[in-house]
Amino acid sequence: MNFPSKLIEDAVTEISRLPGIGKKTALRLALHLLKQKEAVTESLSQSITKMRTEIKYCSVCHNISDTEVCGICTSMRRDKSTICVVEEIPDVLAIENTSQYNGLYHVLGGVISPIQGIGPDELKIDSLINRVAKVSSGDKVDEVILALPATMEGDTTSFYITRKLKEYGVKVSTIARGIPIGGELEYTDEVTLGRSILTRVNYSAD
């Protein structure tokens, strides 16, 4: 693409670094911003910079937070004996939106994948072990729920964490995987269907 201005070219290059945005869309966005009042673009760039420099991560669960310890970790209404382990921050939002969970979280920041150079040291795994091991603070952890992706890396990570937690006698569970609500059996892939049969649950007619 040839640009009439170096300034536009720089902006397009930067915008197209965002996920899912190609050069064409980037150009469209840049031209849109050009048409806005200066205050609008000023406010946009300030909020991005502010977000980047001032955001904090909860020192306990590693979720995004405006404070040293996040709202979930400090809430009196949450069940502190249960920790749900997730891969990334959006997973916390997804589970929160179900309104079905009232425990705490732990964000690993990824899953183990040696090919990509990601081992336990690159993730918040030790920090999870410490949370479970530390009984002195009064909040004893009874259960760790592993809610990691159903991929080979997710399974490897779950396995590794389970082994690491073994000596603390904590209950370790993993979220169920199966047929989506409203899903037809014949359209469910074989692996999911097979797993659903193997991990079937008692039917309650109450």
Partner: protein, 369 residues
């Protein structure tokens, strides 16, 4: 099953091309380097989602372009199936069946069985074990979807384990607990895969022996056996025994990626002791046995791709192969030849509908001989 037509865009040396096929014999003629084999390779792509020649999808795009598409319409037993394959550099390869994108390649492989005979690729016999594993894996993947899923998982875990061993070696810090999930998966999958390979070789061997005797017309005896550690009672123990060796070498030394399939002639490895003629007969017998086992298991005759056979085989073997064609043992056939008159002459004697295509530097036209 047969392929009705084929359309190429920016595939290998073709800017674009459109072909309508005979459901019996199709013969592509043209000088070497004109792009005859590329047409067979396009068919290979539609059936198996990959090239028979070049494993790098990007390298099959026309020079200086950034994508290719291959489109073909197959007539199946009950319906027709339109397949489109799109490769765009930097993007995930797409296979589209009747307008719907296929999510997993293993859902497509096996649907359209294909066998390719290229007498020159005696690497299968002469080279290391990797070529032979690839040949048998390719067959098993077309026949057994769960085999393919297991193999994909195995290769992935193996790559992860090797990366881990490398990192342990480089940093000097070994975390054995982290090896454990990979060890368990590789052991479990090795056992499953090896059992399937062994079972397959047992069924495949009699067909191979029969075809070799037929195609060679000779009395020497051949044999094939599957060479693996993974079916041993104490495989698991052996795997863990090798762990310290793995840590030193920084790669995995046990598992089905070390297997071989041993080909013998009169009790000697054919690789070293077979003549060129015997090796070619062996290669063709391997492929004909493949054809037969696919026909049997899939209930349809696979598409057969014969690359340059008239040039690379002697008269006796050509005659034997053409006898099978004349006996209508095959289904749809695609043949390439550098000498148009020769193939026209050979195929004239066969009672089958044959269509000829002239290939000139990436251009195809119907040829009325």
């Amino acid at each position: 099953m047969h392929l009705k037509n084929l359309q190429l865009n920016q595939f290998k040396n073709y800017q674009s091309a459109k072909l309508e096929f005979s459901e019996e014999i199709n013969c592509m003629v043209g000088i070497n380097g004109s792009g005859k084999t590329n047409l067979l390779d396009a068919i290979h792509y539609l059936c198996l989602t990959k090239s028979a020649v070049n494993a790098q999808d990007n390298q099959n795009i026309l020079h200086d372009m950034d994508f290719f598409t291959v489109f073909g319409e197959f007539e199946m037993a009950k319906n027709s199936l339109e397949i489109r394959c799109i490769v765009e550099s930097g993007k995930k390869k797409q296979i589209i069946q009747n307008g719907k994108a296929v999510e997993k390649m293993s859902d497509h492989v096996g649907l359209l069985p294909v066998v390719m005979i290229a007498p020159d690729d005696t690497q299968l016999i002469k080279d290391g074990s990797e070529e032979r594993r690839r040949f048998f894996d390719n067959m098993l993947c077309q026949l057994d979807k769960s085999y393919m899923d297991n193999l994909v998982r195995y290769q992935h875990f193996l790559k992860q384990r090797n990366a881990l061993l490398k990192k342990f070696g480089e940093t000097g810090r070994i975390n054995k607990a982290l090896l454990e999930p990979y060890d368990l998966e590789l052991i479990k999958l090795s056992k499953l895969i090896a059992a399937t390979r062994q079972e397959f070789v047992n069924a495949y061997k009699p067909l191979l022996l029969e075809h070799y005797a037929d195609i060679s017309g000779k009395r020497e005896t051949i044999d094939i056996h599957y060479d693996t550690n993974c079916t041993a009672e104490d495989f698991e123990r052996q795997f863990y025994q090798n762990q310290s060796k793995d840590l030193i070498l920084r790669r995995s030394t046990m598992g089905i990626h070390k297997d071989d399939f041993v080909f013998e002639i009169d009790n000697y490895p054919i690789k070293k002791y077979g003549s060129q003629g015997q090796q070619k007969s062996f290669l063709i017998a391997l492929k004909l046995a493949q054809f037969e086992i696919f026909h049997d298991k899939k209930n349809t005759k696979p598409i057969l791709l014969l690359d340059d056979i008239f040039d690379k085989l002697d008269d006796l073997r050509i005659e034997k192969l053409m006898q099978l064609v004349a006996d209508h043992r095959f289904g749809q056939l695609f043949i390439t030849d550098a000498r148009p008159e020769r193939s026209a002459g050979i195929l004239k004697g066969i009672n089958a509908q044959a269509k000829f295509f002239k290939v000139e530097q990436g251009h195809v036209s119907a040829w009325d001989q």
